[in-house]
Amino acid sequence: MDNFLWRALFGGIGVALLTGPLGCFIIWRRMAYFGDTLAHSALLGIALGFLLHVNLTVSTIIVSLVIAVLLVFLQQQKQKHLATDTLLGILAHSTLSLGLVTLAFLPGLRIDLSAYLFGDLLTVTSQDLYWIYGGGSLTLLCLLFIWPDLLSMTIHEELAQVEGVNITRTRLLFMLLVALMVAIAMKIVGILLITSMMIIPPATARSFSRTPEQMAILASIIGCLAVILGLGMSWYWDTPTGPSIVVTATLLFMLTLLRTYRMN
């Protein structure tokens, strides 16, 4: 096997390990659209990275973090005239468009836009791997640290607060972790497909789990399986890697659906 394929495999597995547990909270807290918004805004991060000549991962992380903080701030507003999903929709598409417009203004820049939109796993560099595993372990460690509080407030926010959980701080930390994950995972599955990696493996893991922790671990394992099968599919049939991973994840999900139906 060639080196680039090994890198692709390690990169994909790293991302799957990361998106499993965080993705569980995304679906438990019904925040899929939030993840989507952060992913869309990542393109603005890339455009700004090109514009200001800084590392693209760094600029994407910064833009994602700013958007996450902005969202927490908007949600805390007492006088709300717009529903959260409306706000998210506005942010998602305006940042994506702003990113595309900014890229058009950069003279002489020839980039493969589809690599950013749909991912380009086969061009993963060793530096990308450092980001995935370095940033990924940091993100997972932080998640482990806030896990009990986050789980408690996901189940009942007021009960958690009475028991001493700092709601605002935990929510902010979680959103920052999602932002970090989006910036890290973008390279692998692309801006438009990140949400699927956050949602499909946890949804697949649900019917096999009895506790939240089981579901998180299983989501990571299923994600890894999707990456391996998707890469294989991409290798043998020359299909784009990002979408291939999502397609195999969806196939795994449908298999478990069949199992659930048979059990009922």
């Binding site: 679906i27 438990w28 019904r30 009990p148 789980l151 408690s152 996901t154 189940i155 009942h156 007021e158 009960l159 607060q161 009475v162 028991e163 949804a203 649900r206 789990s209 009895r210 506790t211 939240p212 089981q214 579901m215």
Partner: protein, 240 residues
């Protein structure tokens, strides 16, 4: 147990939501070893007052004094678990911070729900959920127990059991209890002090006194008096 120890004291509190007066000039005190019951019709501000006692909400005017040393056990009115979140009763109880299985079993035995330990939380009835929520509140070994509609969804025999249990809890844990109910007849017999709320305090005092109060009768009608009579009778025939 110092029965005069004040756990929480709310004084002359006012709360407005969008120019709508939710609570007007309301005061409330819960002492250690005392059961205080809050009754009132829907929209009377019971939940708002509970939130103030718990510190989840700050009043616009008025004072709230809560002993900073006390631990609060809270039993919320609603808990719906999304089916996508796998959660057993045992895992739910460990969120209180207590993780030893024998302690979880012990507290479930106390509320009469031992058989639920390994059951998924989505697969238990409304009445069983009330017991599990009470168990979680008790695991904190509370000084103040706040119970929002503790018997909602519990069948009749279960209601007697739960009130009997709640009455015992204050002795066993040496705690004060604040209970919310729109259910009248059962509550009256298991409480020391009743506050009848409808945005403001309509009347308050010992249960026997409150049930004779004109404001109470106006709010709940004659039915309330009849129900109480039935229950009191029942209660005596059981205990004497």
């Amino acid at each position: 147990m110092n029965t005069n120890e004040i756990l929480v004291q709310v004084q002359q509190v006012n709360v407005t939501f969008d120019q709508y007066l939710a609570l007007q000039n309301v005061s409330l005190t819960v002492k250690r070893g005392e059961i205080v019951t809050l009754i009132g019709p829907n929209g009377a501000g019971k939940s708002t007052l509970v939130k103030i006692v718990l510190g989840l909400l700050s009043p616009h005017t008025g004072n709230v004094h809560r002993d900073p040393e006390i631990r609060i056990g809270y039993m919320p009115q609603h808990l719906t678990i999304d089916p996508v979140l796998p959660l057993t009763v045992a895992r739910f109880l460990t969120l209180s911070g207590v993780t030893q299985t024998h302690l979880l079993q012990q507290v479930l035995a106390e509320v009469g729900a031992t058989h639920l330990l390994t059951r998924p939380l989505q697969r238990i009835s409304g009445g069983e959920m009330r017991r599990v929520l009470l168990a979680r509140a008790l695991l904190r070994e509370p000084d103040l127990l706040v119970l929002d509609e503790p018997i909602q969804g519990v069948d009749i025999t279960g209601q007697y059991e739960l009130y009997e249990l709640i009455a015992q809890l204050r002795k066993r844990y040496g705690c004060g209890i604040l209970m919310v109910s729109h259910d009248l007849h059962l509550v009256m017999a298991a409480t020391d002090y009743v506050i009848c709320l409808n945005q403001q305090v309509c009347c308050n005092g010992r249960p026997e006194a409150v049930t004779q109060h004109p404001a109470y009768l106006k709010l709940f009608g004659d039915r309330a008096g009849r129900d109480l009579a039935i229950y009191t009778h029942h209660h005596h025939s059981q205990t004497v």
